[in-house]
Amino acid sequence: MTTTTTTGKNGFTSTLNTTWQIIKQIPPVFPIFIILFIIVSYLSPTYSSTVGILAFLRRTAPLGIFAVGQMFVLASGGFDLSIGSIVTLVCLVSSLLLNNDPANAYSSIGIMLLIGAGIGLTNGLVVSFLKVPSFIATLGMMLIVRGMALYWVGGAPKGYFTDNWRMWGRGYIENVPIFGRFPIGMIVLIVVGLITWYIFHRTNYGKQVLAVGDNVRAAQLSGVKVRLVRTGAFVISAVLAVIGGIMFGGYGGVNVTIGEGLEMSAIAACVVGGVLLGGGKGSVISVIFGAYTLEILFSMLNLMGLPKPYKDTIQGAIIIAAVAYVALSQRKRR
């Protein structure tokens, strides 16, 4: 959409109109995030200090990455329920592969990325060629991956994560100008965000993902290789789940239930970031901010002294409200 500014006696009002047009196009997630952030920094001095803000950024970076991966699949019209169990797999199997030796860190990360790509490829092929709805395909994959992970390590995590493996999730780069120290996880998120932003918003592939999600038949008739596009989305989602899982495990430590429910959190972050279930809409930056908005909301409730379990209640209400808002405002436009 282009808006041109006309000069003349209406110059001022049309500038105002243009500004209003631009403001209207800002996704609601940004102002909501900023408002929540201001409230939180009033409630707790930690959130107005650089250290506190950076710690918050570091903590939420993995969810941002999961959400971006989930967005690719949602935008193409599917679901990916296997994210959480991929994270469990990454954490459990890495603890085994590392074997308490820092020298194994990079090889184990490489192996996990390959496994992740394999899982995503399988998801994509099952959906594209066996025509299994992605909800069921990735639900099955969730069970398979979780079972394999637990079987592989024998039901309990073995060993611990070495420091050079954990650094991706919890490490800082020291002596950075302005910030002092900068979380590595945040750098990973920024790099992942830039790459996925480029793929999603600037390449043909990204447009094709949206086209497939919007109308499969139309995309097919205009020459989009639907199956390839869908499979690609699942691979991206699974690989990002591995990357986020490495950071998540590095931040939190080894745990059998570490990945439980993460796929739903990622979907929630996407929904808050304005992604439509069923496909056809999505934005990398909004989704990352969706993840941060959810997390800052939890921090706020925490600071207000609400018991922890209510976090779920609020999250549930928020995602319903977010989607209802979009649905109702769309109806008005029509």
Binding site: I136, A137, L143, D312, I319, V323, A324
Partner: protein, 331 residues
């Protein structure tokens, strides 16, 4: 189709109308395969011991009851992810209200069914009136219920009186009461779907919502009712579980994975995830497949983690066997 007066074609038509869902062949294969594996590597109990057969049925009760409700909402092209926490809510509330006293049983039952009805109503209203995607709505309500239960109860709450364990443990002749209840729920589900106006309308709404609306169906009411029924079946499953466990705890629903497994059983049973086609008898077979698998692996002494892997594989393969021939792209 024209009706003929020939009794031969009539019989043929009746025979045609009781078509067995294809999933039963799958169930037979798994049952026979499991039994033969058990003969070769296990104790041969699956074919030999009638108690094991009955156990397969009892194992299916909890999932089977809620899967009937799930089948209904899926036929209406909706979905219900909140059933697991409705089950938990029922279990803790029932055992908390009963407190081991038989006098409190009617009050507890009325309370939990009322709660189930309200939850189903809320789900349905959000989906139809606020136009929120069913997946998100029920994910949201399940999180809301989860937060409320976990902040109210942290562990086993109260207990059920001995008389209430009747539902979970008693036998009527050789058949457990719970299995009879499951069959009754199945028959009622079949009757509602195939023999009532509501059922016919539900299929229509699931097949094409816009067309049904334009043909004058009150699509909103139909979907809301389907969601209320689904939550009610979840409540019944919750009551069964609490009578088996003798007390309720907040984790009984999600630990049993009743939300995802009821959806999986429904779809394995041949109900279309996109709505408009399917039925409860297929779902029953889907549920039985899960219990046969569990029993077989149990008898073979297989690693419990590999059991999870096989469940996942079976779900995908079973659904793939229907979908592979479809020409439409899946989503």
């Amino acid at each position: 189709m024209t009706t003929t007066s020939f009794s031969g074609t009539r019989v043929k038509n009746i025979l045609k109308s009781i078509r067995i869902p294809p999933v039963y062949y799958f169930l037979m294969v798994i049952f026979l395969g499991g039994g033969i594996l058990d003969l070769m590597y296990g104790g041969g109990q699956i074919f030999g011991n009638p108690k094991i057969m009955m156990n397969i049925l009892v194992r299916s009760v909890a999932l089977g009851i809620v899967a009937v409700g799930q089948t209904m909402v899926i036929i209406g092209a909706s979905i219900d992810l909140s059933v697991a926490y409705v089950i938990s809510l029922t279990a803790v509330t029932a055992s908390y209200v009963m407190q081991g006293d038989p006098a409190n049983v009617p009050r507890a039952i009325i309370t939990v069914f009322a709660m189930g009805a309200v939850i189903g109503l809320v789900n349905g209203l959000i989906i139809t009136k606020l136009r929120v995607n069913a997946f998100i709505t029920t994910l949201g309500t399940s999180l809301i219920i989860k937060g409320i239960i976990n902040s109210t109860f942290s562990n086993w709450a109260g207990s059920v009186p001995r008389s209430f364990e009747f539902f979970g443990y008693a036998f009527l002749g050789p058949i457990p009461v719970s299995v009879i209840v499951l069959l009754l729920v199945m028959i009622v589900g079949w009757f509602v779907l195939k023999k009532t106006k509501f059922g016919a309308h539900l299929y229509a709404v699931g097949g094409n919502k816009e067309v049904s609306r334009l043909s004058g169906l009150r699509t909103h009411r139909i979907l809301i009712l389907a969601h209320v029924i689904c939550s009610m079946t979840a409540v019944l499953t919750g009551l069964f579980i609490v009578s088996r466990l003798r007390a309720g705890a907040p984790w009984v629903g999600p630990d049993g994975l009743y939300d995802l497994e009821s959806i999986a059983a429904t779809v394995v049973g041949g109900t279309l995830l996109a709505g408009g086609r399917g039925g409860v008898w297929g779902t029953l077979a889907g549920v039985l497949i899960f219990s046969v698998l569990d029993t077989t692996f149990n008898q073979l002494g297989m690693n419990p983690y590999l059991t999870i892997v096989f469940r996942g594989l079976i779900v995908v393969l079973a659904v793939a066997s229907y979908t592979i021939r479809s020409k439409k792209e899946a989503a």
